[in-house]
Point group: C2
Chain length 207, copies 2
DNA sequence: AAATTGTTTGACCATTTGGTCAGGAACACG
DNA sequence: CGTGTTCCTGACCAAATGGTCAAACAATTT
């Protein structure tokens, strides 16, 4: 299913060039909106040359997408049932926020795909992603019924972590437009805020 | 700047038909990804006829966008400094969630535009939106320093409300893919969760 | 150096796309 | 009814787009 793996240095290098350029383009234009000419220009290669390394526009896109999905879930995988529940969840949120800071293009690529109906990733969502989420939701659920954190719906907790953290990558323009200063200090404020948000939510207390 | 207003019933009706169809198409494909043929087909009119009512693809899009932005901020406008602070904020979040349930296409249209860099709405964001947010942030800030709610960064509070609520419209496919049941009951669960989230965050207590 | 294999390109193609236009059909109204 | 206005369409166009291909160019191997 995936593209044949590189045999020469040139192949290695040019594939990376293309994927890098394609990430730029797809993440800001979506699949349909992106053009091979843009990707070619951005990567410094000619269009036929791009198609020498990838069989089609779609091949580049799905390659990017499948590469991405795996890394994307690492922060959630790292949530362990051993540690302190609140720390684990807060840390998960902060790790996710960090990914938004480090890899905003990847986040936007994903956002574009999902907003537009996830036409070429739906099975990944209903398969592996769903399983992972259910597993971790079970862990949280256990913490909850053991009284170690305040009761919450674990699925919606996870959704809220996704949305609040990805927001800083996906809606970056909006965030910047409202907090006019150019500085990136708002990521620190976001960190503080999220720590607060989930600590207060989960600290045992009210029903 | 806006299209001349309708003079006949036919104009009225067909404009609405077009905008309705265009909302469908633009919200799932983004501006570049959408085509006039799709909009024409969806609206049941011929392509030249669509262009009889709107001067260009872009004209349809910007019309939709400017119409939208106004209604979109109503829930925030309704946040009053009079009422009980926590109720006001929780109610705001619930109103916003309700909009995600009622107008998911509008939410997705907006999401597409922002994710792709807000090329034709940036000034609206840096202008009116920014002003409104700052005004309401000031209100929240006052509540905060009066000790009526626990201290929080008001801007990031607002961002978190936007993201958590819009998530249910914009990432609908993902949400459904994970909570496999077809039923829409998850909106009720979301409501409960958000009520909890913001009540716990804002109830005076911890630093 | 010749032969083989891998890389790059200019020219080309079919289709799609946003948009135009001349004229016809439907409607309004005196 | 007739005449002006609004509405609608088929035919058309130029540009953009995804993709192909034969041939030129480099690298590598023998």
């Amino acid at each position: 299913m995936s593209e044949k793996q590189p045999r020469t240095r040139i192949q290695q290098k040019n594939r990376e060039l293309i994927l890098e350029a394609a990430l730029d383009v797809f993440s800001t234009e979506g699949f349909r909106g992106a053009t091979l000419d843009q990707i070619a220009a951005q990567s410094g290669l000619s269009k036929p040359n791009v198609l020498y390394y990838f069989s089609s526009k779609e091949a580049i896109y799905t390659q990017l997408l499948s590469q991405l999905l795996d890394t994307w879930l690492d922060p959630l995988r790292a949530l362990e049932s051993d540690g302190d529940p609140i720390d684990e969840i807060v840390d998960y949120a902060l790790r996710k926020l960090e990914m938004s800071r480090e890899f905003p293009r990847e986040s936007r690529l994903f956002a574009n795909e999902i907003v537009q109906g996830a036409p070429r990733i739906l099975d990944q969502i209903e398969g592996p992603l769903r399983d992972l989420v259910n597993a971790k939701a079970a862990v949280i659920s256990d913490w909850s019924s053991a009284g170690r954190i305040a009761p919450v719906d674990p699925h919606h907790l996870i959704f809220s972590i996704w949305s609040t953290t990805q927001h800083y990558a996906d809606f970056d323009v909006q965030v910047r437009g409202i907090l006019n200063p150019e500085g990136e200090s708002h990521f620190n404020d976001a960190q503080t805020f999220l720590k607060l948000l989930y600590t207060r939510l989960l600290s045992p207390g009210a029903p």
